[in-house]
Symmetry: C2
Subunit: 379 residues, 2 copies
């Protein structure tokens, strides 16, 4: 399923290849976020043209609307949204804890009311596996509890133990389901929690690895913690993850953060920044973000970024895109979304090439130095 093609000599950067039922993902890779069955403002055709290798679907959102019966009726998420490339579905845990109204977390699972109409719902690790089987993504995630930041050590430790027991149950449910279905190609990733406590990160990583998954995610990052804490959470988890499985940093990050995390051994990323900031008029460039609403761009005849081959930069100038954003025209946020996704995907492509040619360390340092803006973390 996962092949390690090359490694960097100056860092832990890895060049890999993850094979899924709907296609191959060259890593490091960025996954555009398709929250509600669509990457916001973008069509599947545009995603293919951007050469997106895999997208993320949010289980919680799809579970709430259109609901599992609808997705099942339509033959799964791929057919529903007409995307035939790989999909990773999250477990829904993060959104249950951040969006829904939690009623009670028990050993058994999470009782909550959804944020749309307040319907009382219960999700267990086993149910999360079933839901993701219905969605039919290529990679499923175990249900975990994602502690907030900051968080007491004692809470983090108890939460981690619950997450580990849930991971065991997820694995059993997943294997049980697989044993009943011929040719079930879905992969299951475990999630390492442990908040900002190094020894808890290690404990979590060892416990999750002992259960055995097709890949390992580092969760509990991008929850508001300062960047050094985020980097530390990855650094303290990564050494205990097997080399022959992909590693995924959930909900991250800014362009420099992604390169720093690749240097720390991460292979997969997902982040709403390129799409969310685009809808606010903000574009990513090699020298940092541009707010295209700014008056300085009103008469600007240059593309968002000189030399960029994205559909927005090939055809449109900053002054026009600024006009669209100011006039609240949908085409404006569409164009910036395409540019930003292209920027993220292209950055991964360049990182892959740099690892292959043993120049990743220099590439990372040059990019981070040139980016020149304060980094921040968002999910």
């Amino acid at each position: 399923m996962f092949e390690l093609l090359a490694t960097d000599s100056n860092s832990k950067a890895r060049r890999g290849r993850l094979t899924t039922a709907h296609g191959v993902i060259e890593t490091p890779a960025f996954m555009p976020v398709g929250t509600q069955g669509t990457v916001k403002a973008v069509s599947p055709r545009e995603l293919r043209e951007l050469r997106a290798q895999i997208i993320l679907g949010n289980t919680y959102h799809l579970f709430v609307r259109p609901g599992l019966d609808a997705v099942r009726h339509f033959g799964g998420l791929h057919r529903f949204m007409n995307w035939d490339g790989p999909i990773l579905t999250d477990s829904g845990g993060y959104q249950i804890f951040s969006l829904a109204r939690i009623r009670k977390i028990t050993e058994e699972g999470a009782h909550f009311q959804n944020h749309l109409d307040g319907t009382p719902t219960f999700i267990s690790p086993e149910i999360a596996i079933e839901i993701q089987a219905t969605l039919g993504g290529d990679v499923a995630m175990v249900l975990d509890e994602c502690p907030p930041w900051p968080c007491e050590r004692e809470y983090a430790a108890r939460s981690l133990e619950l997450t580990t027991r849930w991971a065991e149950r997820s694995k059993v449910a997943f294997e049980n389901r697989k044993s009943k279905i011929e040719n079930c190609p879905q992969l299951l990733f475990g999630i390492v929690q442990g908040a900002t406590f190094p020894e808890l990160r290690r404990e979590a990583a060892e416990a999750i690895v002992a259960i055995g998954f097709d890949g390992y995610a580092i969760g509990g990052v991008s929850v508001g913690e300062p960047e050094p804490e985020m980097m530390a959470a990855v650094e303290k988890s990564e050494p205990f993850l097997p080399n022959d499985k992909p590693r995924y940093a959930m909900g991250l990050g800014t362009p420099p953060q992604m390169l720093e995390l690749i240097a720390r051994g991460i292979d997969l990323f997902d982040c709403v920044l390129p799409t969310r900031l685009a809808r606010n008029g903000t574009a990513f460039t090699a020298s940092g973000t541009l707010n295209l609403k700014n008056a300085e761009f009103a008469l600007d005849k240059s593309p968002i970024e000189e030399g960029c081959a994205c559909p927005a930069c090939r055809e449109f100038i900053r002054g026009y895109i600024r006009h669209l954003v100011k006039a609240e025209e949908i085409l404006g946020l569409r164009l910036i979304t395409l540019h930003n996704l292209h920027f993220y995907l292209e950055l991964m492509k360049r990182a892959r090439a740099a690892i292959e040619t043993k120049t990743f360390d220099r590439f990372r340092r040059d990019f981070v130095a040139g980016y020149g803006q304060t980094t921040d973390s968002h999910r």
Copy 2:
């Protein structure tokens, strides 16, 4: 500039060809409305793929934002928005009278405050010509006063006379400008007003035709009047328009209305219905409009319209598009917009073919009978 290629024997339907600086328009033709320098939610590339032959730009909106200096700086509207096909610009009159806060209408022109920031502005027929020259559309329109519906005969008569004097000044200003510029390929259309009074429509048509324009629009329709009044306004104007010039019904209409107007000798249409209704979840089909928000479509695996070759129907099902609309995802209104524009453009294509093959009358009757919904007029 305008060639009459074929006429219908059972109606006044005409098959024509209008040649402009940016390309040829086969008529009857529908012009998608690009209010603020973009056809809402659609990219120029998509418009080309839909085979839109010409789009409309709203002078008032572009004048208010980004402003003439910006459009001039960018080399005109075509380059600003990266659309290299024909553009027709309206004079701004309709929006001045419907959107702006009118301060005073004098013989000289209209004093108003724009709807965005209240900047006091004055537009005369001569200024409208200058503005449209700066925008650089292929077809410009004279400034007119568009009387409301209903309206007293006396008001309509006085308004018509002002519109006629403005048309004369527009022609002088236009010719004056042309004489100073080599190779100025812009066309100028006059506008027939006269509200719902047959003898005023005739008077207006004769006066405007006497001035002499490259084409003739019928204005003062689609202002809230019942459909029979709208049809009558066209019927009472059309006989006095020359055969060898294109005729344009402003701000119209529904699909059956367009066919009825083609049968009454109209060649050009513009209407926000396909784009505006799309943003509300409403799709056009041969049997009428569908509100895709309706629960009946939740599990529907068929395309918006069976057999439709638009980008939405080729790839997506009603159930998915309904989900997108309900979840307020931009892709939903994008897909319906593409479908609706395709529907309007395809209807014109079929009308052109029917006129050529002498089957227009039957085509119109069959379509109108099948459409089976109450028609309404919108601008």
